[in-house]
């Protein structure tokens, strides 16, 4: 039983270490605490948001070892050794927005934006997995992220734009070619 750091009326709390947005991090979590709980309460990362608590809405999307998962369904104690990325990890070190965030801004792909972090993170992996995704594939991949304000058409426009821009960059002649 490694890592036990105290028990109270609620139950025991364990130390859990993982890499959070590139930084080694240790938190204390009780067994039933989720990643959302510890990232908000202990790491103050408010871009991770609970919406439904049952893995349906995607407001709590985090990348675990690069793959989108529902932060509300991951027991924090099981995150030992994982690499976790939240929306706060999308900007580069100088605070420049990533191209994904920039596309969402340009298309105003949000309203209340409670769901936006989840969409951004899911989009990050979508672009890696299916660089030539069709609109249908974009919709299907992102269908598990819900936006009650219904900003879907603008999100589709933002992701379509991103796919095109990345393709253009990939096809652009490099210096060696020139």
């Amino acid at each position: 039983m490694e890592g036990e750091v105290g028990t109270n009326v609620v139950g025991e709390a364990l130390e859990v270490s993982f890499v959070l947005n590139g930084r080694a991090t240790t938190v204390r979590a009780r067994t039933h605490h989720t990643l959302v709980d510890v990232l908000r309460d202990q790491e103050h990362l408010y871009g991770v948001r609970e919406g439904c608590g049952v893995g349906m809405c995607g407001a709590c999307t985090v990348l675990v070892d690069g793959e989108p998962q529902s932060g509300c369904l991951i027991l924090a104690v099981s995150a030992e050794g994982r690499e976790i990325t939240t929306v706060e990890g999308l900007e580069d070190a100088s605070g420049e927005l990533s191209d994904i965030q920039d596309a969402f801004v340009r298309h105003t792909a949000f309203q209340c934006s409670y769901c936006t972090s989840g969409f951004l993170l899911a989009t990050k992996r979508l672009l890696e997995e299916i660089p030539d995704a069709s609109p249908h594939e974009v919709k299907t991949y992102l269908a598990g992220n819900l936006c009650r304000c219904g900003s879907y058409m603008k999100i589709l426009a933002a992701v379509t734009d991103l796919l095109e821009r990345r393709r253009t960059v990939a096809l652009a002649p490099t210096k060696e070619d020139a």
Partner: protein, 306 residues
Amino acid sequence: MLAPRFLRPESSDEAVELLRSFEGAAKVVAGSTAMTIMLRQGLIEPDALIYVGGLPGLREIHEEDSRLRVGALCTHREVELSAEVRAVLPILAYTFGTVANVRVRNAATVGGVVAEADYASDPPAVLLGLGADVITTSPSGERRRPLLSFYRSFYETELDFDELIVAIDVPIPPSGTYAVYEKYVSRASEDRPCVGVFASAQFYGGLFHNVRIAIGAASETPQHVPAIDRAGDESDLRASVIGEIAEAYAEQTDTLDDMRGSSWYRKEMIRVWVRRALERVREDAYASPSPSRSSSIPDEMPRRDQ
């Protein structure tokens, strides 16, 4: 107590010993997608969680002797995207790819979905239709059971409290087999199925053989009735034969009522979707009479380039 103990065994053997020591008061957890919800909603109050997520040897997929063995810790997404599964059992990859959303599929495991016995899950019916076995281990040793006799009722299986699922073992259908899974969702796209129908048949000599149907999400446990399926064997799956099979499943399934459809509606949907599934099998067989390996590849197989 809100927060049960959290134990991390280092091997399957240690895990099942722990399970035995808690005498039923411990729960196994891996992907934790279902367990977290049950725990937080107070539906279960275990004394301990036995975390098996990192255990070695339970995450392999391999083919041997015309059987595909899928480790219990493989995630849904791993099955969905596995080149091996897609090659020999594309219908299995397709089915796991229809479950919930990408996030849940990245976490939920094969062992978890089989053990949870949630009536509204997609994979159990398809595994049942394919004739899969469940392989478990316990302090008393390894055991193999056909899925057909594994499910008892809502969230209830034959699994003993000190038993851990280590793999599912699926026979690879003989060549010339066509399989489909029809997931019918009655409300929003992200809903779970109202009914799910698996159908497969082998096609040679102008006739269909080894017809297999399984119905999920419509009753407490997935349904597969070999006696009904036999009506399709050695037939050309003409409309009347298909109709007979569909009717028999609709009649015999003890359908349930929930917000996705009444018991009456589910019977109607079984009738429609068994028919549609078998029609697709027939059409696929006529369209390409000799599939490369075992079954037709569904139209909408998700992709992954990296």
